[in-house]
Amino acid sequence: MSRRERTWTSWLYVLPALLLLALFLVLPTLQTIWLSLHGGTGFSPTEYVGLQNYVQLLSNDSFFLNLSKWPPSGAMVNSFLWLVLFTSGTVGLGLLIAILADRVRYESIVKAVIFVPMVISATATSVIFRFVYSPDPTIGVVNAVLTRLVPGLEPVPWLGRVNLVNLALIGAGIWIWTGLAMTVLSAAYKSLDREVLEAASVDGASPWQTFWRITLPMMAAPIGVVSITMVINGLKMLDLVLVMTQGGPRNASRTIAFSMFWEVFNNSRAGYGSAVAVILLVLVAPIVVFQVRRFRAEQAGR
């Protein structure tokens, strides 16, 4: 009797949370999938169009995916660029800083400086980088440095060029998120078995060999975890793009998440935008499966 009673009261602990999760995450996601099969304008589209939105997005929307010209362009391509460059940039730099800073006395100061952008809002960061990238000679520090180093160089409008804008935005993204990668990887590096590293160096391995053959394989797991986090963040990138460029110039910096927001809230195409959201959902789904598996393996090992 008392055991059954206890089981019943256990639900009271989780019920408020589960109710909110169902109402704000589970049900809306299912509704979005349903909405994505509808067309028309307005916020509550009713006209059922089947997979028409997806066909349109993937084959006939040059802002979303344009494979007819080389190089390919559109939000899908830009998000792929984010995924690759943003992930490798943050993880690579984070690892480099973690290992280098471990060797100096002012480690904590360097790490604090690198981490600070993590606590600033993407909105404030957007303002910061509108300054940094500005072609105005009294505002943009990048151009001020470049024009002084390279005589005769005209200031470059980094956010105004179709072929530069994505790289400039990804640069700002890396500036924000490297601190997170560094913090995790630094903790992992410090917990490595020092004797193995020292043995390698006694055996005559160069620092370079030690890094590639020993340090890196030993840190594969934390590097994997951080990379997954960065892949997710790269895929979902929205606020930085919205505030810094509004997807421009000439729609060149749209990402998948930006397209979703823009189609729904600017173009009033809720069904079309929902299809974009579902594509994003499908892209992160493998990561969900991977994370759940990883967690189950962890639990089994306990």
């Binding site: 690198i114 404030a124 910061i128 509108r130």
Partner: protein
Amino acid sequence: MTPTRGSRPPGAGRRGVHPLRLLGQGVLHASLLGIALVWLVPSLGLFITSWRPPEAIAASGWWTALGEPAFTTGNYDQVLTAQGFGRSFVNSLLITVPSTALPVMLAALAGYAFAWLRFRGRDVIFLVIIALLIIPLEATWVPVLRMFNNPVGYFGLTGVPVLGRLDLRLTASFAGIWLAHTAYGLPFAIFLLRNFFAGLPRELFESAKIDGASNLMIFRRIALPLSVPAIASLTIFQFMWVWNDLMNALIFLQDPAKRPLTVSIQALIGSYGAEWHLLAAGAFVTMSVPLVVFFALQRYFVRGITAGAIKG
């Protein structure tokens, strides 16, 4: 090439200072300081610009400002009063405090249950929560906004006599965004606290059970006091996410008088995109609170992040 003991660079080791090693040390320090400089300069530029009068900003770069100092508080005065950032600052607080307290409380209860109580489907539900950790919020915005715009209709209650005539639009009040932030913060919060609770020693709970303590008593007297560091980290993270959030406020708060700082900045860029003095001061106002929190509570950040706490 044999320096005295005291002046030996760190890491020079027993083998003495080989010239190549000295060069390596030089490269090490130069690259670290170079990287730190790249990370510092953007914020520093914004900070200095925010204190310079508009004429000075137009005339020379902020990097020359230290040579010819002319600073003013005028930009801040203008942003806080004329541009309404004072009001937005209060709004940001009004949004952030409940949106932080609520999910932390709900997640503490749920995390405890997922770690130490038994009920049917517990482990499956927890796996679903891990999946929800990664779901893009983009996939929820439209239906949630429809719910907020017309809660009575959304739940099919239009026919109910009194309810049908009530105006319950949640986009016009803070209640909607409190609920949204709470729900969106829950997967991570539950995940973090459940893992922390699960790491506490089993004997604690078993001996309390034997002494006749109820689950609620164990939660309040044992689990909560022991998890203060984890709850502190979580509270700080949630506070930062909500304070720094732009998208949810943009979508779910449609009363301009209730704008938080992030939305005000975004609006300022739209209408005064070239007014650098206003943008700089405004951006720094939004940054001030997170910066103070970070420097005051730095150790909780590192602890929270390395506890396996990576938000998707």
